[in-house]
């Protein structure tokens, strides 16, 4: 028993920690209970304003008019499809009537704005010699007979609702459900999750049958589905937990060690969630990634501890001594690595989007917590539990064996393999750079980009887009005037010109605004003579023409009129073109007293987000690499070393950009932080390996032997870390939420690639830059 355990050499932290172990355990238990209580209060939320760059000019303009625009955007559409034949059957109409009534009573529905064939506000009209005549679309004499069905068909044709409330093919009809953002009775904000759940229960579950299919779209439904999908993430966490446990046991063959590591990592997650709740921050579908990361980081550092601990046990120390020595040998490296992670994450704060900033804060807190749980609590626990004999035996056996995998990686320190690896990397780099050029900003799929293209929501959305004349990609320009001037002739005329300008912009399908209503009013009020489809300079004529304007097209004091631009899609190029076109118009026509401000609508907000993401992308990369380079330079004081560590990371970044282009994943709120997370964690590998390489080289060992030694000590753990991190996030690929899946794919790729890059390219680059020869001097 080599009893060279030296109490005097023990650093202060170690003595503090191990002198009063029971006290620490009590403290950790109490804190865990306290934070666990708060963590259990955390609910996933999907706050719209947090997902958008609130300081961007477009969003500021939008916020200024948010109340006036509310009635415009927040609408749910329910399509009731007749699966056999058209909608002109008594049974179908009965179902449609029942669903309309059902929806009428769901809290949150703006009842006066509710529209369907069965609401009295949907009317037909025609011009006669005496003027307008009209009535509700459902004939007063409705008795579900053939005659009344025929009457209904005629009325629908005259109502102009084909394409709006009735599908172009007459095989489905819509219920148009505007929502109140706040409950007019209680003043409480609309509970999207509850509303969405009620729609499912009272409409879809109740009426979907062999004859009738229900399709529901709208922002409220997206949010509802998002939150619902986010809750499945809990399952992924359990899955990640299970896989990690199996891997841990496979690594150390000791249930006590494996469970301790797992337990401490779970405690880290509980603390992180509890602290987030306490500081008033929440967890959103983006920052849900953080518990996975914290867990994985916890496990990877825990592995280092039990790995070292096992080694000391093999060397013959008792379990308390082994725990203390493991702590002593690792706490500085672990601390430095975790701090660099945390600093890497905080660079995300430069992106002016709250969900990303929340993610940065959550991740930094989580990493800080790991310092306490997995560097502090874990050794204390292990000093009680100890490594099982089975674990010690396994570790002894592993040490004696020549490890094939390690041997393979060690070869990259030899010139032939080193240059070969660099050559291959250069070829791949070219591939990455080439495809990286094609990487797109923003969302690339149709429908709700948050959800998968084949999700029920997006299928519903496709049904409605295909069968009705409405695009779901809406870009709103706000025409701002002095009060009472929004329908002044001069302003309307410029808005009309603007509408025409936009209609001629590629990617624009249609433009609607109060101008269109005014022109249609001229047409309608002059006996349906299209020769009057124009604006009139007389204000009384204009007033009469816009009399029947639907709500939301002008605000109450008539100082703002939204111009709604329907787009073909929300691809970044389309949005860019639209924004450029608006700028072009604004520079060409400057009307006194009228400002055409961008932007609201889902596409307007996405245009702002894209603009922020595009500039943030470069800024973030500069920051994160700047921080990493500075940290590495402080640690190693050698430019060559910095190159050895940073170049593999840059290689991974380029490759992941190429991968994004190939997989059709755009740079967006969800994927932008992934690059920083990947670099922040990836640099750990380099630091661990290079620390050992440096030690060896300083002792005058040749590179190959040095690297073999580094692989045996930290390299092995790096390999395991890469795998656990990758598995922790890989479960996300199965998320019903598209952006979570994208995050999962990218992070998995980056963690694995960083690991391989560190194990293969660091020795190869060290060979290339002749790092060893420098140290020899």
């Amino acid at each position: 028993m080599p009893a060279n355990f030296n109490e005097q050499q023990a650093p202060l932290v170690e003595r503090l920690l191990f002198s009063s172990r029971p006290l620490w355990i009590i403290a950790f238990t109490l804190l865990t209970l306290f934070l666990g209580y708060h963590a259990s209060q955390v609910r996933p939320e999907a706050s719209f304003t947090k997902m958008i760059p609130t300081n961007h000019e477009f969003i500021q303009n939008y916020f200024k008019h948010q109340d006036d625009l509310a009635s415009l955007g927040n609408v749910v559409r329910i399509a009731v499809e007749s699966k056999n034949g058209d909608i002109f059957t008594a049974e179908y109409q009965k179902t449609l009537q029942e669903i309309t009534d059902e929806v009428f009573f769901i809290p949150g529905v703006n009842r006066s704005g509710l529209r369907s064939v069965w609401t009295p506000n949907v009317r037909w009209s025609e011009v006669t010699e005496e003027g307008f005549v009209g009535g509700p679309v459902i004939p007063d004499s409705w008795d579900a007979s053939e005659e009344s069905l025929e009457q209904l068909r005629t009325n629908i044709l005259k109502s102009g609702e084909v394409g709006n409330l009735v599908a172009n093919n007459f095989e489905s009809a819509l219920i148009y459900v505007p929502l109140d953002e706040t409950n007019p009775d209680t003043g409480e904000p609309l509970d999207y999750q509850q509303f969405s759940e009620q729609l499912e229960r009272l409409v879809r579950d109740k009426y979907q049958s062999e004859d009738v299919a229900i399709h529901i779209t709208g922002f409220a439904k997206v949010i509802g589905d998002l939150i619902e999908g986010a809750q499945q993430v809990g399952l992924f966490f359990l899955l990640a937990l299970g896989i990690t446990l199996v891997m841990l046991f496979g690594y150390c063959r000791c249930w006590r060690s494996a469970l301790s590591v797992l337990g401490c990592s779970i405690i880290a997650v509980i603390w992180q969630l509890g602290i987030i709740k306490l500081i008033g921050s929440g967890i959103n579908p983006y920052s849900m990634l953080v518990p996975f990361l914290v867990f994985a980081i916890g496990v990877s550092h825990g592995v280092q501890i039990i790995n070292a601990l096992g080694n000391f046990r093999v060397d013959g120390f008792d379990k308390t001594q082994a725990a203390r020595l493991a702590f002593r040998s690792l706490y500085i490296a672990g601390f430095v690595a975790l701090v660099s992670d945390a600093i890497g994450f905080t660079t995300l704060m430069v992106i002016d989007i709250e969900v990303i900033q929340e993610l940065a804060i959550a991740a930094s807190i989580g990493v800080a917590v790991v310092v306490l749980t997995n560097l502090g609590l874990l050794p204390i626990l292990m000093s009680y539990f100890g490594v099982s004999d089975r674990g010690i035996n396994y570790q002894t056996k592993v040490r004696q064996e020549e490890h094939g995998v390690l041997h393979f990686f060690a070869r990259f320190a030899q010139p032939k393999w080193a240059y070969g690896a660099i050559g291959v990397a250069l070829v791949m780099l070219c591939w990455g750079l080439y495809y990286g050029q094609q990487m797109k900003i923003g969302d690339l799929d149709a429908g709700a980009p948050e959800l998968r293209p084949d999700s029920r929501y997006n299928l519903d959305n496709k049904f409605i887009v295909d069968n009705y004349s409405s695009s779901t990609d809406i870009f709103v320009v706000m025409a701002e005037t002095a009060p009472e001037m929004c329908i002044a002739y001069d302003n309307l005329e410029v808005m009309d010109r603007f509408s025409w300008h936009m209609e001629n912009t590629p990617g624009v399908q249609d433009v609607k605004s109060i101008v269109y209503v005014a022109k249609m009013g001229g047409f309608g009020l002059n006996e349906g003579n299209l020769k009057w489809y124009s604006l009139n300079r007389n204000k009384y004529v204009i007033n009469a023409n816009v009399n029947r304007a639907p709500p939301g097209l002008i605000n109450p004091d008539c100082s703002m009129a939204p111009i709604i631009i329907y787009l073909n899609d929300h691809k970044a190029e389309t949005l860019k073109q639209v924004v450029a076109s608006v700028h072009e118009f604004n520079s060409q026509y400057q009307e006194e007293g009228l400002e055409l401000l961008m932007a609201a609508g889902n596409s307007g907000i996405e245009a702002a987000t894209n603009a922020v993401i595009e500039t943030a992308q470069v800024k973030m990369l500069l920051w994160v690499y700047g921080v990493v380079i500075v940290l590495c330079f402080i640690a190693f004081r050698s430019i060559r070393t910095v190159l050895c560590i940073v170049l593999p990371l840059a290689f991974t970044t380029v490759m992941s950009q190429g991968l994004m282009a190939v997989l059709g994943i755009g740079v967006k709120v969800a994927t932008l932080p992934v690059i920083a997370l990947g670099v922040g964690i990836g640099v750990d590998y380099g630091i661990y390996i290079y620390t050992k390489v440096k030690e060896g080289l300083q002792q005058g060992m040749p590179l190959y032997e040095t690297y073999q030694m580094a692989l045996e000590s930290t390299g092995k753990a790096v390999g395991f870390t890469g795998l656990t991190l990758a598995i922790g996030v890989a479960t996300w690929m199965f998320s019903p939420i598209k952006f979570q899946a994208d995050m999962g794919i990218l992070l998995t790729f980056m963690f694995l690639w960083n690991m391989l890059g560190a194990l293969i390219l660091i020795p190869a680059l060290a060979r290339l830059f002749r790092v060893g020869s420098v140290h020899k001097k």
């Binding site: 010699e129 084909v162 010109r497 025409w500 001629n504 006996e527 349906g528 003579n529 009057w532 489809y533």
Partner: protein, 397 residues
């Protein structure tokens, strides 16, 4: 002593300039804004078609004039120096044409429709009307001096009317601007052009549009009904108007008489067929013809209740009338409905022309459409497509 006066003057000037600021700083004037070259020009609302021996023309919203050579399927957008909604177009010959529209705009081409220039706008018309009313006022006042009591009363009433008209003209000239659209143009030849407008306004030029005359007082239209369309049979010039009013002129607009019409709904169009039969149509599927130069009319069964707004003749001499909801009704020269179909677009159709190959060009709210009548006796129309977008006219960009 001088100082306060100067100061006062400055304040007055300031006040004046600020009160003028609003109208003069208004930079955008639709009358003067050249029509935008638009890739989507064919899908803007189009109102009227015209044909010459060589070309087909369409006019509509945003000052758009489209033309197409008869052998060519491609539509081109003409250069036009206004952006108003154009409501009507007519050619005197292959080279000379006129189009009219909202805000009192008259444009003219003398290069077969490639470029169009404004000849008159609503502000000019207000001035013309003012001159015409003032002239009339002078005449009445002169008459009043020698008139007997009965006529004097009548004259006083007329004078009061004219004074009211002059007042509203002054308001329009000062601040509001022109509010009455021009609705139809008829180029009798390259010198004589008639323009019909809303609220009983009629204009004529006898010098190819170099000067224009307000001739409203030649028509009896106390209620100021809108004049919607012209027709010409070589002898008479006809005007179909609002609320079943109908006029004819034996001398190309010099004098007019109102004829009795058997229907009191608005009439939107008229044409003459190869047998010199006059066809008139309007609100709610009402179609009539007259074989005696509008002395009497016969009602035709059109089988539809939609508004009918445009018509043409086919090579076989059939009359085609189009209207709301994509309705296309074809009548044989006897006046019998031989075909009633709906264009798939279901669009508000406003005009139609027939081509030698049996196809039609239609216009309406959705822009240019094409249509091929199915061979008789098929009941419904086959599918058809939107016409292709125009290429840029020569010399552009």
């Amino acid at each position: 002593m001088l100082k306060p006066v100067k100061y006062l003057f400055c304040v007055a000037a300031l006040a004046a300039s600020s009160s003028y600021a609003a109208p003069t700083n208004t930079s955008y004037e639709v009358i003067e804004e050249p029509a935008m070259r638009a890739p989507e020009a064919t899908s803007a609302a189009m109102l009227k078609l015209a044909q010459t021996d060589e070309r087909t023309f369409a006019v509509g919203d945003y000052g758009i004039v489209l033309f197409r050579d008869n052998q060519d399927a491609q539509w081109q957008q003409a250069e036009v120096d206004t952006s108003v909604l154009l409501t009507s177009v007519d050619f005197a010959d292959n080279q000379h044409g006129w189009a009219v529209g909202h805000h009192g705009v008259i444009i003219h081409t003398n290069d077969a429709g490639e470029t169009w220039q404004r000849q008159l706008d609503g502000f000019d018309i207000l001035e013309l009307q003012k001159v015409a009313f003032e002239q009339q006022l002078q005449e009445f006042e002169a008459e009043l001096e020698t008139a007997d009591d009965a006529t004097a009363e009548e004259l006083a009433f007329e004078i009061e009317n004219i004074e009211y008209e002059l007042e509203s003209l002054a308001f329009a000239l000062e601040s509001e601007g022109p509010t009455r659209p021009l609705l139809s143009v008829f180029a009798i030849n390259k010198d004589e052009i008639l323009v019909a407008a809303a609220y009983g306004l009629m204009l004529k030029s006898s010098d190819g549009g170099a000067s224009w005359q307000v001739i409203s007082n030649r028509l009896d239209n106390e209620r100021g009904y809108h004049y919607n369309a012209f027709a010409y049979d070589g002898t008479y010039t006809y005007v179909a108007a609002e609320s079943g009013t109908f006029y004819r002129s034996p001398d190309r607009g010099e004098s007019w008489e109102q004829v009795d019409f058997p229907y009191n709904g608005s009439l939107f169009g008229a044409h003459i067929d190869n047998n010199n039969r006059l066809w008139v149509y309007g609100l709610r599927g009402n179609v009539f013809y007259s074989d005696d130069q509008a002395e009497s009319f016969t009602r035709v069964t059109a089988g539809t209740r939609v508004n009918l707004s445009g018509s043409t003749l086919t090579a076989k001499g059939n009359s085609v009338v189009v209207g709301h909801s994509g309705v296309i009704a074809i009548f044989n020269p006897n006046g019998t409905l031989i075909q009633l179909t709906e264009h798939v677009s279901g669009d508000v159709l406003t005009d139609v022309v027939a081509h030698d190959d049996g196809s039609f060009t239609l216009v309406g709210q959705g822009g240019l459409l094409s249509f091929i009548a199915p061979a008789l006796p098929v009941e419904t129309a086959p599918a058809n497509e939107q016409t292709p977008a125009p290429t840029a006219a020569q010399g552009q960009e």
